[in-house]
Every structure is written in structure tokens, then in C-alpha cells.
Symmetry: none
Subunit: 133 residues, 4 copies
């Protein structure tokens, strides 16, 4: 069960709409079940450095099937996964990456958002995943 | 003078429409003037290995402001640019990457297409750049 | 709006002059809006390992349009961007990278300085950006 | 015996002057004896992809103490060094990279030029090395 381009574009559209309402310039990446890129958009004047971060957030969320924020908590100094971010060619372990599930709860891909504060990134990612529920 | 997200999505839409008519599954990447990703789409069942090739084709086209096919001709054994593909973290030197110009001829970005034959990739890339002329 | 070579050399000259006065051997990199190198100088006997750091500082500053020192504060353990340095092929998240603005405040590139203490690096970077105001 | 920044900037200046006379936009890199960057300039509107190529040409010339053109001849299909370009993180094996010697013939660094035809790149590189003889 894999996300389709039509679904990815729908999630992307919803995320962009949310970001526009919030007036924050975002990079938004949608990946499939294999952790491979399906759709991407960088809003005008969004940070260039957030292209890679958006993609890596989505990949991190799918590689471990959980929100990147949760992985971040577990990878602080002294915590069980300390240092995990150097694996897999670089993970991003703060909020803004989330698995995408379809209506029946199956994980079909992941979304990663970067360009605002971490809270803003998470809000925009949520808008993307809500669109497919 | 840099491509906007709206322009990138317009070129992407035109390229997808062309690929659907040709019944070929494509990966399509749109980059800005600095060689940084702006928009991307992978059609359902398109080759995963073509994600990176599509992006690298677009980057190659912008990095040298010419079609990747032309660079390919110049980098054959015995030709002046033989071996150029190992530079810049990996270039793609066959057809399917093209600079994007706006109505007055200024280069504003680049498109890269991968997933079909090289001829099909070039046809789809052309459809993308025609949409912005 | 992109930095010209003449502007980059002017900023580079001002930064070298400052470093000479401070008697510190610096590596100084000037990048354009796309994060691509425009001008570079390594002063005699400056650290070789600081070539890459100077370039990465400038890239980091342009990728997020802020001083690298600020990104460093936000990426300490427990802070929102903890771990960001593994993205984008390696970021540098301590002081010495700054966006370059022209007289009207538009970002036209970035400067990165490495070779002294972080405070010295920031002083030299500031001298570079002041030269274009 | 290593090239100084003053010498590197003198060679760079001579190379830029030559390129301006030829009306070709060049990327020019000067490396030291260790193969590490000392000075760099990208002329306005020069190819972005030539930044890396200019640096790699200079490195290739210093790593083997000969013109890159000569290495190119030896690395064609069927020739002794076929495939050498994938070593050392990527070599460039066509003309435009040359060792720099001081007045008494000692190699003190290397120059790499990229942005024109291979012949133009070699002419500009020669102008750079002549300036230090």
C-alpha cells in the first residue's frame, strides 16, 4: 500500500494552504513507503537549507514510523538513541516529520516540513496528513 | 531573476500532462537559478532510481546553462569534456535536462526528467519549458 | 539580486585588512544567493581545516538567512534545532557566517570566516559585510 | 616551498585579466602544494558547475604534477590510466589544470580554470602561471 501521486499532491496542496494562511514560507516533501521522494514544493523565498531538512524529516519519520519530534526526545544527550542523527546519511530529529496514514490507519508514506519554527513546521505537516484521513 | 513556485508548478503540470498522454511514468524535477529544488513529482510506478537522475539532470542543465544532451555529446570518449560527470557530486550527461527561460529569454531555472527513454524524457522536458514561454 | 565578483572582492579585501590588523590568519569565503562560491582567500599559514569550515559557515548563513551563531544557539542539546548540523552535507553552527546585504537591505550572498577564535571570526566577517553597506 | 596568498592573488588577477580580454566568463582556483584552496574567483555569470571543476582541475594537476590535459590523454578508453577520474573524490581529466612553478622551477601550487572551451580554459590557466615566472 503506497501513497499515489494524486494523494501526495493533495497533501502538499493542503500543507501549502495552511502555510499561506500562517504566512510562513515552507519547504514540504512527501515520501512514499520506501522513503523515496514523491512530491515536493518550496514556497517563494523559503530557506534553501530547508529543502534537505524537509526531505530528511519525512525520511526519518518513515524510517522509524513515528513523528520526528518523538525521535528527538529519545536522542538527547543521555537518552537511549543519542547520536542516531548521523545514521542513514543524516536524520533530522526535531519536529516537522510525520508518517502519513490512509483512512484505515495504514502508513502509506511520510511528510516533512521545514522553513518556520518547529511548531509551525508541525502545524503545516499536520494539515498535510489530515487531508488524507 | 528566479523561478517562482507558481511557475514551477505550471511547468510541472504541463510535463505531467505530456507524460500521461505518452503513457510513460516520469520523475520530474524543477530547480531554481541557484540549482536548488523548487518542485518535484514522481508519477505512480515511475522508477525510484530516476528520482536522483531527474534532479541531477536539472542541476547539470543549470550548472552549464545548456541541455544535458549537448554535454553528453561533448563528454564522450575522445571528446573535450570526457569524464565531466564525476564533478559536482555527479552530473547526468544524457538528454532530459534543460534550462528554463522566461518569456524574454532569461534563464530562471531548469527542468530534469527521467523515467522513459531518453527521447521520451526530452519530449516531456520540452513540454515543461514550453509552458513558461 | 546576486552579489557580483567586484562586490565579493571588496568584501574579501575588507575582511583580510581587518584580519591583518588583528594579526590572525583567516580563511574567508564569499558565496552568492544560491549558496555557490564566488570568492575565497586563505591567508598564509591559516589552518587548512578552516577552508571547509569557512565555506560551510557562509553556506549555513545563506541557507537560513541568519548568522550561524544564532543557529548555534538554537541547536544546542534540548533546543529546537538540535542536530541540524548533519543536514545539507554538514552545516557549521558556531559564529563566523553571516548573510551579506546590499545598501537597501536585500540579501545578496553570504560570508564565512574561519581561522581564529569564534569572536575573531565574527569580527572579520562583520568587516566584510560592512564594506558593502 | 608553498605559494603565498600574495602570489595566488597575482596569478588570479592575471588569469582574470586574460579572461576579460578573451570575453569569456571563468571560474579560477589556486591551490597550494598540499592541494588545498588558497584563492578563488568566479566571474559574473560564469557557469556554477565550473566552480567544482576549476577546483578539481587544479587538484588533479597538483596531485600528479602535470597538466590535466596530459592525464586526459592517458585515461581514455584503452589507455593506461582509464578510469582514474573516479579516484580522489573525483578528478577532472581534460585541459585547464596546471602546476604552478616559481622562478626557479619548483612546483609551489596549481591553477584550475573552467568556464570556456577547453582551449580557452588552458589559455587563461597559462596566463595565471606566467605571472609567477
Amino acid at each position: 500500500m503506497n501513497i499515489t501521486l494524486a494523494q501526495a499532491q493533495q497533501a502538499l496542496r493542503a500543507a501549502i494552504d495552511k502555510a499561506e494562511k500562517m504566512e510562513v514560507m515552507q519547504n514540504i516533501a512527501i515520501l512514499d513507503c520506501g522513503g523515496n521522494l514523491v512530491a515536493f514544493a518550496r514556497m517563494d523565498n523559503a530557506w534553501i537549507g530547508s529543502i534537505d531538512i524537509a526531505i530528511k524529516k519525512a525520511r526519518t519519520a518513515r524510517y522509524f514510523d513515528m513523528d520526528t519530534q518523538k525521535i528527538g526526545e529519545m536522542s538527547q544527550p543521555g537518552e537511549p538513541l543519542y547520536g542516531i542523527e548521523v545514521s542513514n546519511g543524516g536524520l533530522i530529529t526535531f519536529g516537522g516529520g510525520m508518517p502519513i496514514k490512509n483512512a484505515d490507519g495504514t502508513i502509506i508514506g511520510a511528510i516533512g516540513v521545514s522553513g518556520g519554527t518547529v511548531d509551525q513546521d508541525m502545524d503545516v505537516a499536520k494539515a498535510g496528513i489530515e487531508a488524507l484521513k
